[in-house]
């Protein structure tokens, strides 16, 4: 798609897209944990397969540890058959609450943006 390529090569749009992804990452991680506990790599794979939020792996681990410090997730070590234990994360009650609040804000935000952008999308 030439249009998309043109947009992606523009450094201003690029930067904006990066900021947008970053801003969504916290919600995306909480959402990836919504269905139950997951370990870091598992959550990462879910982010990669269910969204086009291409995430730098190194960003996710410090963020998970920050979410833990804030009490939004809890963690536990579980032995695995791979021979090394995995650190599993699960949402706490506060984390579920926070995810719901963020999802509601997101829904309001994205529907008003969609309304606003409708004329632009019709142009295409």
């Amino acid at each position: 798609m030439p249009v998309r390529d043109a947009i992606n090569s523009d450094p201003v749009s690029d930067k904006w897209e990066v900021q947008l992804r970053k801003g969504c990452l916290e919600l995306a991680i909480l959402a990836a944990l919504w269905g139950g506990r997951r370990y870091g790599l598992e959550a990462l794979r879910r982010l990669e397969s269910d969204s086009d939020l291409i995430v730098s792996e190194g960003t996710v681990y410090p963020l998970l540890s920050r979410l833990k410090a804030l009490g939004l997730v809890q963690s536990e070590w579980v032995e695995s058959d791979t021979g090394h234990p995995r650190k599993y994360y699960a949402l706490t009650t506060a984390g579920r609450q926070r995810a719901l609040e963020m999802a509601a804000i997101w829904a309001r935000f994205s529907s008003s943006m969609s309304r606003l952008l409708a004329p632009l999308n019709e142009e295409k």
């Binding site: 291409i54 960003t59 410090p62 410090a69 650190k87």
Partner: protein
């Protein structure tokens, strides 16, 4: 097996570079971070057949160890600050940030200056009642005739040829200025940390 051994060594070397930069975090915390990253790297490398290329790719996608360590440190600083805005904790985290980057060093320098001045103002306000004649803000002319301002806590003699400027006003002004400086310095440190986090681009290398 030789390949696996080499892969393991590469991973440990990477983790060691991170370990060195997480000094100051609690030992338990540090151990968990390294254990988790090791687990991640081993699993990714194993998925790629534990080849040299697979290990390199796994290391590459985690990013430079210095930057990763820095993210833990700044994230911890911000998380701590949301729980308690104690200047000591903030300085402690800034010290670690300073050991990791030149930007962090200047942020630390600014924070130390801010807190130091803040504490001086608070001290002079607190000591004025005990040293009414000597504590305060003094103006004096130096040898070349230039006017200099200095804060005196009131221990020892009053500056020769100096003139106290604020009198008892130093108490409310010192408390206000000191308090403001401490608050603003804390804000400054956190603002820099947030700015750092916001500026860290998410490279699109998945």
């Amino acid at each position: 097996m030789a390949i696996a051994g080499e892969a393991q060594q590469k991973i440990e070397a990477y983790l060691n570079r991170i370990r060195g930069r997480l000094r100051g975090l609690r030992a338990e915390e540090r151990r968990e971070i390294l254990e988790e990253l090791r687990s991640h790297l081993l699993e990714k490398a194993a998925a790629g057949g534990m080849t040299g290329a697979a290990v390199d790719a796994a290391l590459e996608s985690l990013g430079r160890p210095e930057e990763l360590a820095l993210e833990y440190v700044t994230d911890e600083l911000l998380a701590r600050a949301e729980v308690s805005r104690s200047p000591l904790r903030i300085l402690d985290s800034l010290f670690r940030w300073a050991s990791l980057s030149i930007v962090g060093f200047f942020v630390l320098l600014g924070a130390i200056t801010g807190y130091f001045l803040g504490v001086v103002f608070l001290l002079v306000a607190a000591l004025k009642p005990f040293h009414p004649e000597t504590a305060g803000l003094w103006a004096s002319r130096d040898a070349s005739g230039d006017l200099t301002l200095s804060v005196h806590l009131g221990f020892g003699y009053a500056p020769v040829g100096g003139r106290e400027v604020l009198g008892w006003w130093i108490v409310p002004i010192g408390l206000l200025a000191g308090g403001l400086l401490v608050i603003l310095t804390t804000r400054f440190g956190l603002w820099c940390a947030r700015l750092y986090r916001a500026s860290r681009a998410l490279p699109g290398r998945g």
